[in-house]
Amino acid sequence: MKKDHSLPQDRPIGPSLIIEVAVRIMIPFIQLFGLYVIAHGHYSPGGGFQGGVVLGASFILMAIAFDLKTSLRFFSLRANAVMASSGVFIYSGTGVLCALMGGLFLDYSALDAIIPLGPVEWRSMGVFVVELGVGLAVTSIMASLFWDLSSGGDMDKGL
């Protein structure tokens, strides 16, 4: 993947001011939208996977528009691993916590014993907690998939 036999006029375009400025303005809004989609999964169209993909896409956009190193600077590999694992822990942990509290696996109304909101409200909130976990995991996986595949595993130079 690293063989660069190209002629000078075929090499990729260097930094472009328009793209950089535009992307720099767009990325916070994309991330906000991704968080919105995650948070509304239990109430309207949306959810963990969808919002996670949008959030991950924001980091991929950063890697494409600027540089792989820039993307890694904002979302380091270590944070990536931690976020992926914590996403799964939140999701499975909620399920096991519900079971430990006396209900069935992923039966959110059993969490009423910890924070009293009412069993019906908890069934709605519980979905949100699980979606949050899924969203975190999917974000980090989308970003790390792109980094790994575009750099051939070395994480130094992307597309």
Binding site: M1, S44, F49, D148, L149, G152, G153
Partner: protein
Amino acid sequence: MEAILSEIIAKYNYWIYVVLMMVGFYAMIGKNNLVKKLLGMNIFQTAIILMFISSGVKKGGLIPVLDKQAALEHGVNSALINNPVPHVLMLTAIVVSVSVTGVALALMQRIYRRYGTLEENEILEKIDR
């Protein structure tokens, strides 16, 4: 002949997806390049996803997003609303498809690095040597 033609026109969406599925299936089996095989697999899975979703559409159906107040007051007439269950199932299928594509792409990178080519016949020659 008339009956067959009217059958095809009545269920044209399913026929389109079946054709798409077969295109993807042929690419998976018949093509030599690994990337084309992977794309064929993606087309095949996407066609199945589309077929599932199109099975839930109704003529003149409303979007399955309810207004909380109106639903609590007037109730919901499910016969008028498009079926949202296939959408949810296919979301999971899309996740599976993305995961398999990710794994396959990572495998192809390793294969390219090791054998220098992505054509299946050349890879098999290099292995046998």
